[in-house]
């Protein structure tokens, strides 16, 4: 009985949230609206106001710092559960960087780990019902992608100098063909930040739209009354299963972002290995 009343309580909470549009249809895009929380004056034409996206990024960063502070506090030889979790995360990413970039990549571990854990924290915070997903904003993911891309670019020129451009020129190929290949290689290199940003953005946006659509089905069916109210259990179970899938996607996308950053770093650190 408690389960049933709990279910109707949850569904009722979903009904009271503003996910049903004015006309009675489904409005899954409303959750991504950015609004000002603290208005700040413009500096050089750039609006630096604190928006809800900024608030949730700060919250994610604070949660991350809090977690690693708590996990690293004891420094016990035999770690407790919290410390094990922290060690699992750092060792996992360190192993990833080492296997993807090699020994020379060890100095990029802090960078890759920061990207990975910050994206993971934002994705997980976004999964809390009612919370805002900062990574569902293209501005946020594009900034992260640009940070990754510009780092790779700076490393490329610092390690290889102008010799870096030979990476685009295939060896042992007839020159006319080589020129065409060079253009394609250059375009695909410059497309990297775009696909990096769109992948994270699209996954988060898509996942949360699907979740909201299923939640709206529950609310609409409950509101319809009679047999349809009982049928609302089906989309409710679907929403639960999809939430589990979204937890997987949240982890996977942070992992993929970190792996691709490693792949791109490896690409420019070892340009002769092609």
């Amino acid at each position: 009985m408690g389960v049933v009343s709990g279910y109707f309580g949850l569904a009722g909470a979903a009904l009271s949230r503003p996910q049903i549009a004015e006309g009675g249809g489904i409005d899954p895009i409303h959750q991504f609206a950015v609004h000002k929380v603290i208005g700040l004056p413009k500096i050089f034409g750039a609006d630096l106001s604190i928006s809800n996206a900024t608030v949730y990024m700060i919250l994610s960063a604070a949660a991350l710092i809090g977690f690693f502070w708590a996990a690293g506090r004891a420094k016990a030889l035999v770690p407790d559960r919290l410390q094990s979790l922290g060690e699992l995360a750092t060792d996992g990413v360190r192993g990833l960087v080492q296997s993807m970039v090699g020994e020379s990549g060890a100095r990029f571990f802090p960078f890759v780990f920061t990207l990975f854990s910050f994206i993971l924290a934002m994705n997980f915070v976004g999964l809390i019902p009612g919370a805002f997903t900062a990574t569902s904003q293209l501005a946020v993911t594009a900034t992260l992608a640009l940070v990754s891309f510009l780092t790779v670019l700076v490393v490329a020129f610092r390690v290889n100098g102008l010799r870096f451009f030979t990476k685009f020129y295939p060896k042992g190929v007839f020159w006319a063909l080589a020129l065409i290949v060079m253009v394609i290689e250059l375009v695909s290199f410059l497309m990297r930040p775009l696909t990096l940003a769109l992948r994270l953005f699209g996954n988060m946006l898509g996942g949360h739209i699907v979740l909201k659509v299923f939640a709206s089905f529950v609310a609409l069916l409950l509101g319809a009354g009679g047999v349809l109210s009982v049928l609302s259990i089906a989309p409710f179970l679907g929403a639960v299963a999809l939430t589990a899938l979204e937890v997987l996607v949240a982890g996977l996308q942070a992992f993929v972002f970190a792996v691709l950053t490693c792949v791109y770093l490896n690409d420019v650190l070892h340009i002769d290995h092609h």
Partner: protein, 75 residues
């Protein structure tokens, strides 16, 4: 044709791009499984490549999705 209707039809057509992403991701995981069953010892070392490949294939489906969303809400 009504501009609103054209937008909706365009968004629907844009989702067809996900067919390609589905084929790509399916091929990657299928090939990985068949390879992993032939040589299970090498399977664990290739999971990184597996997810990178899946992510690269999936990104193209995401592009189609983003275009559909742009048509629906931004255009």
């Amino acid at each position: 044709m009504d501009a609103e209707a054209a937008k909706l039809i365009g968004a629907g057509l844009a989702t067809l791009g996900m067919i390609g992403a589905g084929i790509g991701v399916g091929t990657i995981f299928g090939q990985y499984l068949s390879g992993a069953l032939r040589n299970p010892a090498a399977a664990a070392s290739q999971t990184g490549n597996l997810f990178v490949g899946a992510a690269l294939a999936e990104a193209l489906g995401i592009l189609a999705f983003v275009i559909a969303i742009l048509l629906l809400f931004a255009v």
